[in-house]
Symmetry: D2
Subunit: 344 residues, 4 copies
């Protein structure tokens, strides 16, 4: 079976599993007060070039988005995101459940345009009725986006500038951050992200861990009693070590970056496979998610061969937009096997 | 001073005030259990041609929208509305505050298109990921809309048909219902609304009362313990008589309809005033809200004369879209005075 | 019919109704921006001796408690109240609906003990686990309490002192404040309340108005965007004049105090009626709510005579605790008629 | 270092780790649709003797309590629990955050009394005002309780009977269920729990897993769209395998019960150590949590020796109530070492 359906099909990277195994019988204190969690925080502070950052570990992406957004917003505020943003469409209303509106802007291949953001906030404050409206309270972007695309450094700077002007915290969802950082065509570094965002997270679930997302507050802006609110959201692990040990391993010897690089290299091979067969790309993605427009006949062939992928949306009556993901675990053999299936 | 800024500039209709005065010193039971509330409910059941309807009185529009939507939705559901719907833009996030997402469709002069609704719900259920998305749980429309426009009976029937097919309750916000029913160009009756919606409200605040909206559940579909949840929302008046007496008066001798008719007659006079002066309408409204595109020079003149209206949005650098409202209290003299100001 | 069931059985005081009638046809701006609301705020600032206080008008008690508590608390905080506090038992969970726990202390004839409050907060911070607990974020008391009792000035000072020490805002629910201020045995003035609490409200619904509660923030501590959050709670009246005109009348020529005084005088007559007949008091109340322990045989007699009162709780198999209320509208004739019923 | 502070100081049981290791590189589908999750569900259905039960895996105790309670309650309902219940004191208000009140009853060594529950619900419905109060909507108990105590089968039956009579679902928090089932003095089996409760969970975090709680709905009563609401709560793991593989291992060859038995055997040794030294027990616990009243001088000695335990509450000026936990990982050597420290 070839499975390109998502980037969370395997367990964790063997080095992460080795760390869990090595530390398994140690007796550690709970709720993220253990030595491995402390060590992981330090390594992340170093990696992002921001020693005074506050780092916390949560378990999954939706949980992280809900907790960060809810704890940073005032009750009368909503979060600005693009229409295709994960918080707007694929979190079962987790943001609204916590009492806040998602204020949706147009998406450009999954990305927010800084000028449109500026215009939106400007129009809000210009509206005589804005006291009866939801105040924009922070800005949410994902990097890579839900379509695998990336912000350039200039684009991030522009968003940062608009956010600063309107005093809106910029929150960067990095569920797939490693794949973004290792992209061949990015000019954005981890330090850039730490500098230009107010809070972001480094995704573990999709980049080598069994679970876990590292939330980073970079501007001395951690909400008061954050841990209490994490608990209130049902998001505080008793065995915080589970996240701590994994991130400690991921940020030892650049493991996080090395394994993300594999996904990018395999994605380039995957792109070549489709390019050589003249299969059109739905979107040009420089990361590990690739969106193709495939004839239904080809999909039927892949289905028969047991190849797994994600169905995105119909293109026309004869074609479907589908997603193929690579990950830290994908091998060149798997890519070649996919090519063989396409050619069969 | 001429005030066309809204349809809630006066207190209540003199007949409503007379009823409040006449009953003022009577000792009545609280929380809507009094005889006037009971009488008002019966009169409304008769007026809508639905004797088994359940009627409740709340105090204002946003409160009513929040309470009805929150109590009818399951926790995993959101409400479908058009982008310009009051619940989506002008209620300070009251729906999201209660935990539910507003699923926004395009607006067509403030109205929802039945085919677009059908396509939206159909696409939702066709999406393999819909378990991770907010389920459409009810449909909200306003009639008249926020732009003064009205659904035709055919349009309401089409929405009703789509809602029935998908088992979605149809909720009609009638904050200005009287003005819609008395429009010269409508083919929709109060009985039609009772038959075609699952829940609707008859607005009092903007049609002759000091406050109050009559919520009507027409299909034996009142949420269990509705009064308890009204209390939980902070929406239960101790002196429920305040709403009951007012609606009892409004539904005596067709007062509600007669006073709404005045607003429509004055709106027609107002439209003539603008038409004769070749001032373009932003939208063609058959009810008491009229949207005009006025040169800034004219607005300056009106401002100087102390004429009040609502500023809606810039049209271009020289013009602004503004709203003029008539109401049950507007007089022909006021319309003539406005004409004089325009000609001054 | 004699109705002592509550203090909200009539409409509004005739002088309040006269003000509503006098201003009814004036065209005023909405949402509390009208001249009568402004005037009422000034009169209240004067009456409480705190010209810099912020005053807002809401419509009912539960709504006011929910809105004030939710907007003043951080998300990780709860409100401390006594077990018998209105917010803890008779608001259908309105506080929890807004996301906050009521932290209940023992009640002493409806009152909170300052030493117990201090011990509770002290124990909270002494608990090593308090990061996993709900933080006490403000203190709620009612004055008069749900049992008609009053805090002495010394008791209020003690609570104020404890609250100040722990930096907890003190919120005083004054749904029946007038009756407390006019009690024959109180040493607490309106200025004392303004000085010793951080936020309180002056009840209108139960003291002469059709509806309305005046919320007063006394320490430059109004939550940011309070009006937006009032709207979000569904608590903002379009015709804010309804509250403004009524409070403007109530605070003209001491009307609020004069009519409250009537309730107290009638309550003293009522107490004499029961005392003279050796009917025991359940609690000693110096305000307009009187709690008696009556034999079921006597209650049956009153029921037959059509006398209305509130049933509180069983005392023993032969007796029931019942409540009789007087109000601004109660007359000596009604008290005498009740006495006649008892003697019949 | 000797660590008796909690029962979640180690990672997972070696057999659980072996299962994670063995399956680590398999490509599995996400969100709990994988084969190990399916297998674990079947094994649990068998173990509880209820093949038609619905089983779901969540990550931690507070998350599970919040999700189960919120999704089973109507919006106007609260959950009945004892004052010392975890949901009432140690979850940072997670239940209230989701909009529901915890209705607290007295605790008897951590347990709820069926007669008191019956009296509470009975009084609620007898109260004429109950429409203005929070409706009891379900009953929460923990087994073992927060004090290590257990319900007898007769006590569970009595609670079941009261709950059935009032149509209240009975929810049993089994965060430490294994330790309860293996207690030497219990007469309650896992099948009894499945039969007598409406929903319960089998705790993994404290009984051999890195994380994970198995929620079991036993009466065809899973809330509609439960998975969507789990997602909405931020509680759905992308790699659902993490929970599935662990529970699959725990319910293979009775591992869950065997490792829980170790904790009980070590607890009995621990009790003997204290008994022999005449150290009084604060409460008589038949499970893995032991509460002792220790002189501060002895605690100082233990602290110096690096022995970890939990400080519960002051007993008097010279003594403190402390908790010692054993777990699946505790050894007899550790117990003997503790004894040596006490004797040093």
């Amino acid at each position: 079976m070839l499975n390109f359906a998502s980037d969370y099909t395997e367990g964790c990277h063997p080095d992460v599993l080795a760390a869990l195994t090595r530390t398994n019988m140690e007796q550690l204190t709970g709720y993220g007060t253990d030595i491995y969690t402390t060590s992981a925080k330090k390594k992340i502070q170093t990696a992002i070039g921001c020693p005074e950052a506050d780092v916390f570990f949560l378990t999954g992406g939706t949980q992280t988005n809900q907790t960060v957004i809810d704890t940073m917003l005032q009750k009368y505020e909503g979060v600005v995101a693009v229409e295709t943003g994960h918080v707007n469409v694929h979190e079962a209303g987790a943001i609204e459940y916590s009492g806040h509106k998602v204020l949706a802007l147009p998406a450009h291949e999954g990305k927010m345009d800084a000028a449109e953001l500026d215009a939106f906030v400007s129009a809000f404050y210009a509206d005589a009725d804005h006291d009866h409206m939801v105040f924009p309270g922070m800005v949410y972007i994902s990097h890579p986006t839900e379509y695998g695309t990336l912000y350039s450094k200039a684009e991030l700077l522009a968003l940062h500038e608009v956010c600063s002007r309107w005093k809106l915290p910029l929150f960067l969802d990095g569920a797939r951050l490693g794949y973004g950082l290792m992209s061949l065509s990015t000019d954005v570094t981890l330090s850039d992200i730490a500098a230009l965002s107010d809070v972001f997270y480094i995704g573990g679930t999709k980049v080598g861990a069994l679970c876990g997302e590292a939330v980073v507050f970079t501007k001395h802006n951690t909400p008061r009693q954050f841990v209490t609110m994490v608990k209130q959201h049902g998001a505080l692990l008793a065995k915080g070590r589970l996240n701590g040990v994994q991130f400690d391993a991921l940020f030892t010897d650049d493991l996080y970056f090395r394994i993300a690089k594999n996904a990018i290299e395999r994605a380039e091979e995957l792109k070549a496979v489709f390019r050589e067969r003249n299969i059109p790309f739905f979107i040009s993605s420089p990361t590990n998610q690739q969106f193709l427009v495939l004839p239904n006949t080809v999909l039927a062939k892949l289905d028969k061969a047991g190849v797994l992928y994600s169905r995105w949306q119909p293109a026309d009556s004869d074609h479907f937009v589908v997603r193929f993901c690579t990950s830290w675990a994908t091998t060149s053999e798997q890519i070649r096997a996919l090519a063989a299936c396409l050619d069969a």
